[in-house]
């Protein structure tokens, strides 16, 4: 995302940056339930929304927070919720609903260690596969990551833009380190921020079909209260929005919901790469780990090891093509992550056997240090 | 309700939508004047002249299938 960096500079936590980014993106509704290490997002929203006429609500649990977020969005108000592992599990039910009913909204998960209550105050990246497949049934999903407070601000804006454009829930995965580290954030001038808002139907209410087949597969859902009296359901439905048992209609609609993301993956996927041109080994890193990975690349280069870095900023859809392209050139991918190799699985799929994929895992709540990554690189080159 | 049939003339016109009626018998059982009957699986307005247009059949029909229009 291109944001003008001439704005004002503030010191803030990643969680605060997330809330600020949401408001800059036009978010005017937040429903949440407290959980470490995400609560500062809810707290910041509760403080900042009323002043701009926005709405905050602390719900009775995450099931309710997700439901309220979707309900608010259907009235045309950009909506968000934030949580961490155990709450992310509870939200899965209605994340699936938002996928099926195609309701734009943003779900932030500040990852902590799991499974279960796990490590409330310590970081992990254990929910990256849950973000993809946490809710039942075939669906596609967009999930973003961020490595700093600055990037959290920008990625939150992007999350809203993608949600509104593709009419889908978008997940933003932070981790405890990103959420709780206070650092400098350049807040761009509001007029320099690109904002996308969902389209309005062009046809009259009489001709309106909320879930009709479109070229892009993206539906146009009218805001409740604007004269288009349609039906929204989590049951398989046809273009009218009413439940159907017609097998052809069922298949058509589910394929469209998946296609609208998969066919547009090139417009969604994003990554940074550095020093990959002549690299012999690629470090694939995301979230807070990518900061260590960047240092590791620099350290490797100093020692004459040709290392490069690939840092996805969008992890779902996954950048298989980019990985494949690099696999033609390098021998090895090193994938440091704070889990037992969840994204390394995808990298393995991407390389199609053309390069080796080596995992570096840490699940003890400690961050992965640059030296550890360098050590791993040395083992493989 | 395009297949409505005027089934009675006075003092009220009772119409039954045969394709929506599920023959549950509620209207029959609670008609105070015993106007309605289910015969061979069909709801019939057997004694239209006895109808007092109390509207109870219409109010309690779960299927939007019977209407009573006062003359």
């Amino acid at each position: 995302m291109s944001v003008d960096r001439s704005g004002k500079v503030k010191m803030m936590q990643g969680n605060q940056a997330c809330a600020e980014g949401a408001i800059a993106a036009g978010c005017r509704f937040f429903a949440g339930y407290p959980i470490t290490p995400s609560s500062e997002i809810a707290e910041t929203m509760s403080r900042n929304l009323p002043g701009i006429g926005g709405k905050f609500i602390q719900m009775e649990d995450e099931l309710g927070a997700m439901g309220a977020t979707i309900g608010a969005s259907l009235t045309g108000v950009k909506s968000m919720t934030a949580t961490s592992g155990p709450g992310f599990s509870l939200k899965q039910e209605n994340i699936g609903y938002a996928c099926m009913a195609e309701v734009p909204c943003v779900i932030v998960n500040v990852m902590r260690g799991g499974p279960s209550t796990g490590m409330p105050t310590l970081p992990s990246q254990m929910d990256v596969q849950q973000a993809r497949w946490g809710t039942h049934g075939d669906h596609s999903i967009i999930a973003l990551v961020a490595c700093s407070a600055q990037e959290t601000y920008e990625q939150t804006v992007r999350a809203f833009n993608l949600a509104e454009r593709f009419m889908t829930p978008v997940i933003l995965l932070l981790d405890e380190i990103v959420g709780h580290t206070t650092e400098k954030v350049v807040i761009p001038d509001q007029s320099d921020i690109e904002i996308v808002s969902r389209e309005k139907p062009e046809e009259s209410p009489e001709d309106y079909l909320p879930y009709r087949e479109t070229e892009t597969g993206i539906p146009v859902l009218a805001k409740f209260g604007t004269g288009y009296r349609y039906n929204v359901t989590g049951l398989c439905h046809d273009s009218t929005g009413f439940p159907t048992n017609d097998s052809e209609e069922i298949e058509k609609n589910i394929r469209r919901i998946v296609r609208k993301i998969e066919d547009n993956r090139n417009q969604i996927i994003d990554y940074r790469e550095k020093m990959t041109g002549d690299a012999e080994v690629i470090i694939f890193a995301y979230g807070s780990v990518s900061r260590s990975a960047r240092s590791a690349v620099a350290m490797c280069r100093e020692e004459g090891i040709k290392a490069g870095i690939l840092e996805p900023t969008v992890i779902w859809p996954f950048c298989y093509n980019k990985v494949r392209e690099l696999a033609e050139q390098v021998n090895t991918f090193v994938v440091p992550e704070m889990n037992l190799g969840q994204m390394a699985r995808e990298v393995k799929l991407g390389v199609e056997g053309k390069a080796e994929v080596v995992s570096l895992n840490r699940i003890d709540g400690e961050p992965i240090k640059p030296a550890q990554i360098v050590e791993k690189v040395k083992e493989v080159v | 309700m395009n297949d409505e049939q005027p089934a009675s003339k006075k003092p009220a016109v009772i119409r039954v939508n045969g394709s929506w009626c599920k023959r549950c018998g509620i209207c029959v059982a609670f008609c105070p004047k015993d106007v309605l009957e289910i015969n061979e699986g069909n709801l019939e307005v057997a004694r239209p002249d006895d109808c007092i247009a109390c509207m109870l059949c219409e109010l309690r029909c779960p299927d939007f299938a019977i209407t009573v229009e006062k003359e």
């Binding site: 309220a68 039910e93 209260g225 | 009573v68």
Partner: protein
């Protein structure tokens, strides 16, 4: 004759409910109640959970939102809080509202958010084939209580009152005019307004409890519901096995979206 046609989505008829299911009777009472009030169809939203009762929105020509099992109230809370000008009606079943959605139920009532909630109480899980619900009376049979239910039922209306709802009534579909009147009162009330409506499920409940014929269930409602005024005069013995119907609570309390509006004004004024 009441003209329901302008309120219903005729293309979805005949509806899916079984012969003699009371849900259709409630739908009609609701439509008449709405018609008597100045409610714009474009600005009305109906939200439901999952169950036979929760299929109601599909038949009403307003903005309709059929959600997940038990979650109608959170979705409705989001709709109402984000856009308080919308008129929000919630339709839910006894299982939907008080089992899987029990937590949302008490909290929505506690917030006293301006929602009109119609809780169709048929004493059973209808849609899934007759399993026990939190309102199944002791001793009654269900597919998961083949030897008779040993658990005591919830007093669903009482639960809403103690949680803080400003309007709570209990109605039944036999006394359908009274039911319509209570729905109208609930629609008019600012605040969390619940109408628990006793409704026959001949298929999943009646069949197992010697009332397979819908007429039997209607007769049961006729013979066992007691209006509040009369209830006061009954002895404890006479109340045994009877159900009190009528307006059970009607109080003035701060309403959530109005309080939030004040909060916005206060913050903006600072």
């Amino acid at each position: 004759m009441f003209n329901y046609l302008k309120f219903i989505r005729t293309r979805n008829f005949p509806h899916i409910w079984c012969p003699g299911c009371g849900d259709g009777i409630i739908l009609k009472a609701l439509i008449r109640a709405i018609d008597g009030l100045d409610i714009s169809r474009d600005e009305a939203v109906m939200v439901s959970g999952i169950g036979c009762s929760s299929r109601t929105p599909g038949y009403v020509d307003i903005n309709t939102l059929h959600t997940t099992h038990g979650r109608a109230l959170p979705f409705a809370t989001g709709v109402k809080h984000a856009s308080p000008d919308l008129n929000v009606i919630v339709v839910t079943g006894d299982g939907d509202a008080t089992a899987i959605g029990g937590n949302h139920y008490i909290h929505a009532a506690r917030r006293n958010i301006n929602l009109t909630v119609l809780l169709y109480n048929n004493y059973i899980y209808g849609m899934t084939g007759g399993q026990c619900s939190p309102t199944t009376p002791r001793g009654d049979r269900a597919s998961t209580a083949p030897y008779g239910n040993i658990e005591p039922p919830f007093n669903t209306a009482g639960l809403a009152i103690s949680a803080g709802a400003s309007f709570v009534a209990r109605a039944d579909v036999y006394n359908v005019k009274r039911c319509e009147k209570m729905i109208r009162q609930a629609l008019e009330k600012d605040g969390f307004s619940l109408v628990e409506i006793l409704t026959p499920c001949p298929t999943a409940y009646g069949r197992r409890n010697r009332m397979a014929n819908p007429v039997k269930l209607m007769e049961w409602l006729r013979d066992n519901t007691v209006p509040v005024q009369k209830w006061e005069k009954l002895s404890p013995e006479e109340r045994e096995g009877k159900v009190r119907v009528g307006v059970l609570a009607d109080t003035e309390k701060p309403e959530f979206t109005a309080e939030y509006r004040k909060l916005i004004e206060r913050v903006q004024g600072e």
